[in-house]
């Protein structure tokens, strides 16, 4: 089997497990893009590239809360798919400028997150059927019914994660290939976009808080950082 196929299988299998943490199993925040993309990057041989993607995709969806019956976009699945795409692209373009390559791979992230959110809707509707069946079994005295319904829900969500990560990863990879074919060397300039999206995430987090505390602390953080830079004459890192 080709390396690309192995990478896809590893990413979809491991990513499917990590994506379960978003809602259906655990919720330990292992599915946070910073964590899951770094782990997936490590599994595929480049944790730094995974972390680069994770840092950008952790921020934009922080303000969307899974409150009540609302199903937010599934950003962890999108982040894992994009990581797979970037990893496949890195194998194909070893000399590429990493921020530029990541920027292109990140392009379909909002679309993938929304699609994965719709898939969650579908699964919740599908679960209604298995839960109704489990309720009938319970009323017939089968006490294992809740465990069976839980297991079915886990399997549905795993399959969703597996498929979306594999398909989304190849979509991101295809985009990188297309952009590199069209722009060639000029694609290096797309490194800009990576930092622009990082800034976009920071801006969205800033705007998602009301009240005085976050703006005041933000100003304090800016002042402390600027003070460090001025006093020591060196960057923070």
């Amino acid at each position: 089997m080709s390396d690309y196929l192995w990478m896809t299988l590893i990413a979809a299998s491991l990513g499917g497990l990590l994506a379960l943490d978003t809602v259906v199993a655990g919720q330990f925040f292992l599915s946070s893009p910073l964590v899951s993309c770094t782990i997936l990057g490590w599994a595929l041989g480049n944790p730094l590239l995974g972390a680069m993607i994770g840092v950008v995709l952790t921020l934009p969806w922080l303000g969307t809360l899974p409150v009540g019956g609302y199903t937010p976009p599934d950003s962890p699945t999108a982040a894992l798919a994009v990581t797979l795409g970037a990893m496949l692209a890195t194998s194909a373009h070893l000399q590429a400028f990493p921020p530029a390559l990541v920027a292109i791979a990140l392009l379909p992230a909002p679309f993938l997150a929304t699609s994965a959110g719709f898939a969650d809707h579908f699964i919740y509707h599908r679960n209604e059927i298995s839960v109704a069946k489990a309720e009938t079994e319970l009323s017939n005295g089968n006490l294992c019914a809740p465990a069976r319904a839980t297991l079915k829900g886990l399997v549905h969500s795993y399959i969703k994660g597996f498929l979306l990560i594999a398909v989304g990863g190849w979509l991101a990879f295809g985009l990188v290939e297309l952009v590199y074919a069209v722009l060639g060397d000029l694609s290096r300039y797309l490194g800009w976009v990576y930092y622009a999206w990082l800034g976009l995430g920071i801006g969205i987090v800033i705007a998602s808080f009301r009240g005085w505390r976050v703006p005041v602390a933000l100003t304090g953080g800016l002042a402390a950082g600027a003070g460090w830079v001025l006093l020591t004459g060196s960057a923070l890192w």
């Binding site: 199993a25 009540g68 297991l151 960057a235």
Partner: protein, 239 residues
């Protein structure tokens, strides 16, 4: 003490596995509660589990606490209607407190600290900081929640109030703001000292501005995403 309280914690990790729009977490709640009824006669356990599988929706981290409280209520001889009343009474406040504390504050705080550490120290440090801060606040509640709910029972609301969660929320909001400020200065400073990447700093600054303005006027994320892409490509071509 009711047998089986120890397994409620790990079972509650899967409380949302069978989430659906009709009974929400009801079936997951029944799955979490199952070990408490294993010793019962099936005919006795059936109505209890049927009641458990009914509609239930709250912050998932508070499920073990609720299970402990209802187990105590049943042991005190309350009827299933009264147990249902307890569940319906706590689901609103637990949901509101959990959403405000865990989702709206702790999650962004842990994520921002993780991002800052990932940029400042290393990706591994970022991952550890994020997981440590987030899990520190919910794992004890989930693993010991059933015991707490069982032993404290009616004292639970009072104790939650005495813990002053709004003060922790205020502290975490300060942490978010400071992390955001340090992250922005850190990235900009890094570009400034690197010299040749000054245009990337412009991209970052433009992104922050668009993120703030776009969120305030409620632009969808994909609109901001593609606007930023078009802006960055345009400026790149000009430069």
């Amino acid at each position: 003490m009711v047998k089986g309280l120890g397994s409620v914690g790990w079972r509650s990790f899967f409380v949302q596995a069978a989430k659906n729009y009709r009974s929400m977490l009801g079936m997951g709640y029944a799955f979490s509660e199952l070990p408490l009824h294993k010793k019962l006669d099936p005919a006795e356990a059936k109505p209890v589990l049927e009641e458990s599988a009914e509609f239930f929706n709250t912050m998932p981290y508070f499920v073990p606490l609720t299970v402990g409280m209802t187990a105590r209520a049943r042991q005190n001889g309350m009827t299933e209607d009264q147990v249902r009343g307890i569940k319906n009474t706590v689901l609103g406040p637990f949901g509101a407190l959990g959403d405000a504390f865990y989702w709206a504050t702790l999650k962004p705080a842990a994520a921002m600290l993780g991002v800052l550490f990932a940029l400042l120290i290393s990706p591994l440090a970022g991952v550890i900081a994020l997981l440590a801060l987030f899990n520190l606040f919910h794992l004890p509640l989930r693993l010991c929640g059933a015991y707490l709910g069982y032993n404290l029972f009616t004292k639970v609301p009072g104790i939650l109030e005495r813990l002053k969660p709004y003060k922790i929320i205020a502290f975490l909001q300060l942490l978010i703001g400071i992390s955001l400020g340090l992250t922005a200065v850190g990235i900009l400073g890094n570009f400034a000292f690197a010299g040749e990447h000054i245009s990337f700093a412009t991209g970052l600054g433009a992104g922050i501005a668009l993120g703030v303005v776009g969120s305030l006027i409620r632009l969808p994320l994909w609109t901001m995403w593609f606007a930023m892409l078009a802006f960055a490509i345009g400026i790149s071509l000009l430069l």
